[in-house]
């Protein structure tokens, strides 16, 4: 039935999806556009979270720090009459630099301690955003110059999301990606086999912060407002984690499926059973966690399809086949 889902068709499938999404602004209402826009933002966050959370195996609960920093610095720069491109660029540089600095103390921690410390970081950022009134506007947040940016922002978010997909895909098959996986499996052994563990960990945090910072910038440009809870709140912090884990961590396709699935479910529930949606949403998550512990993609009927697509494999699939047949 799903035999057209093959590795050789993968590129075509991706192009097709992109074409449909690119043509969407023509017929769709701004409601649908906003919904897909938010999906793309969450997708970018979930995928970039998965670089540290899935490949490296360090649960970075503070991933939204990068999102918030990107959003705030873009907003501040836009208010100082920087152009969008320059504002986004500087915001990304700032976010990446911040990630490089915090990686030093944080990667001295492991496991639950790392997760808790990074979780503490977003609370700290929220306190900063609330109290540094003259920079961040305090608890009232910041508004950026108004304007209807829906369609260009929508395209930008698509670019960011597909860029992150490509980044994650390339990472999964690179030497660097292999180093991250070995650290996930056994950090001490990885180090004794020559993997420079500390610099790999730092670099992965920096790489994962870039798409998140960009997503924050695009978000604030479109929504024209950012406040401490929107940038550093629980929802933006935990949603990407849940999406990645629900889809399947450590596979490029995982966070993608998770992000689409969750935004879809949330929206449907909100439309159909408003005010009861949060309860059903929670029950659904618990059930999925119970019955699909490895994520949706690792279920028995989907995993073969995933493998046929060449995901879940870190080395060039065809090259490997060729060698084995010799």
């Amino acid at each position: 039935m799903m035999s057209w889902i093959q590795r050789k068709n993968l590129f075509l499938i991706a192009i097709l999806c992109l074409c449909v999404l690119a043509a969407l602004p023509l017929p769709a209402s701004s409601y649908v556009l906003m919904w897909v826009f938010l999906m793309a933002v969450y997708l970018t966050l979930a995928l970039s979270y998965d670089i540290v959370g899935g490949f490296l195996g360090y649960m970075n609960l503070g991933h939204s720090t990068s999102f918030g920093l990107g959003a705030y610095s873009t907003a501040i720069l836009l208010n100082h009459d920087f152009g969008l491109a320059l504002a986004l660029f500087l915001a990304i540089v700032f976010t990446a630099a911040f990630a490089a600095i915090v990686s030093y103390p944080f990667f001295r921690l492991r496991g639950a301690y790392f997760a808790l410390a990074t979780f503490g970081l977003i609370s700290l950022m929220e306190v900063f955003a609330t109290n540094l009134q003259h920079v961040t506007g305090g608890s009232g947040g910041i508004s950026t110059p108004p304007g209807d940016h829906m369609v260009p922002a929508y395209y930008l978010s698509l670019v960011a999301a597909s860029g992150t997909v490509i980044l994650s895909h390339l990472l999964g098959r690179s030497r660097f990606g292999l180093a991250l996986l070995s650290i996930r499996e056994d950090e001490e052994v990885a180090r004794s086999f020559g993997v420079p563990t500390f610099s790999c960990k730092s670099l992965s945090l920096v790489i994962s912060s870039v798409p998140a910072g960009l997503a924050g910038g695009i978000y604030v440009w479109n929504v024209t407002y950012i406040s401490p809870p929107a940038a550093f709140g629980l929802e933006i912090a935990l949603s990407p984690v849940v999406m990645a884990m629900l889809g399947g961590t450590g596979i490029t396709l995982g966070p993608l499926v998770g992000a689409v699935f969750i935004t879809l479910i949330q929206e449907l529930l909100w439309i159909k059973v408003a005010y009861f949606h949060v309860t059903i949403y929670g029950v659904l998550l618990v059930l999925l966690g119970l019955f699909m512990p490895g994520g949706i993609l690792r279920t028995r009927w989907l995993w073969p399809v995933v493998q046929r697509l060449g995901f879940g494999e870190k080395i060039d699939y065809f090259k490997k086949q060729e060698i084995l047949q010799r």
Partner: protein
């Protein structure tokens, strides 16, 4: 005489416990050295110090005349000392091939070009008899296969010294013979092998020289049969025996 590896007065304290006390060892190129001793004698601690997983409390380790006791494990691996673990520690969810690729890509000073890596990893796997398991996740292998994978991953770093920590324990008789052949072949490639082992028959047959540790002290070293007749070694293994009884034991 320049030694390939030299431990000079290596001492390791864990708090008040002296795990190794003033150990002096010289290893020449091409040797197969056996390290034996009762449980808790400090054999694995010695490996950890040579491989750089632990720093020595006192003393120095030299590799080709260069001091390595202060260097991190990753650098020592790249210099040419690779190890296996007593309790196997493969990268479980990665495939066998990927396990080898990690040693190949990171454990060498000059890793081969990307395209050659997979080929070379396959060669190593085939040499170790794991060729058909290349695409299997390491966690699906049997214990014996995992031990070979450990050796293969260490060999992938193209080491000059291979530290084998009890690779033969838990193997059946036929498997033991095969593993001994593999170790001989590895030595024939010009790799110096230092192995910790409890199976004395293997030590007797395979090793050129044996070093005996007991309570962190080197109590004997020499040719296998010399060491086996050393009264201090017998005492360490069996307990304090009268000289008369000891001769019956040796007989």
């Amino acid at each position: 005489m320049a030694y390939l590896l030299e431990c000079e007065g290596v001492t390791k304290n864990f708090g008040g416990l002296v795990a190794l006390k003033d150990i002096n060892i010289q290893v020449m190129k091409g040797e197969i050295i056996g390290i034996i001793g009762p449980n808790g004698a400090g054999k694995t601690t010695l490996f950890n110090i040579i491989a750089g997983a632990l720093p020595p409390s006192y003393g120095k380790v030299f590799f080709k005349g260069q001091e390595i006791s202060e260097k991190p494990a990753s650098e020592i691996c790249r210099l040419g000392i690779a190890r296996t673990y007593q309790i196997v520690r493969p990268f479980n969810s990665l495939t066998t091939l990927e396990n080898i690729l990690i040693g190949l890509s990171f454990g060498r000073i000059n890793p081969p070009a990307y395209k050659k890596r997979v080929m070379e990893a396959m060669n190593i796997l085939t040499f170790m008899g794991l060729g058909t398991k290349a695409n299997n996740a390491a966690e699906t292998l049997t214990l014996v296969e995992k031990k070979y994978l450990e050796m293969a991953r260490a060999m992938a770093t193209s080491p000059e010294i291979l530290l084998l920590d009890e690779v033969l324990s838990g193997l059946g008789p036929a498997e033991t013979v095969r593993a001994m052949d593999t170790i001989r072949e590895i030595q024939a490639f010009g790799v110096t092998v230092i192995m910790i082992e409890h199976v004395l028959s293997v030590i007797m047959e395979l090793c050129h020289r044996v070093i005996v540790l007991n309570y962190g002290v080197k109590i004997a070293q020499g040719k296998p049969n010399e060491v086996a007749n050393n009264p201090r070694v017998v005492e360490a293994y069996i307990g304090n025996v009268e000289m008369g009884e000891q001769e019956t034991l040796n007989a």
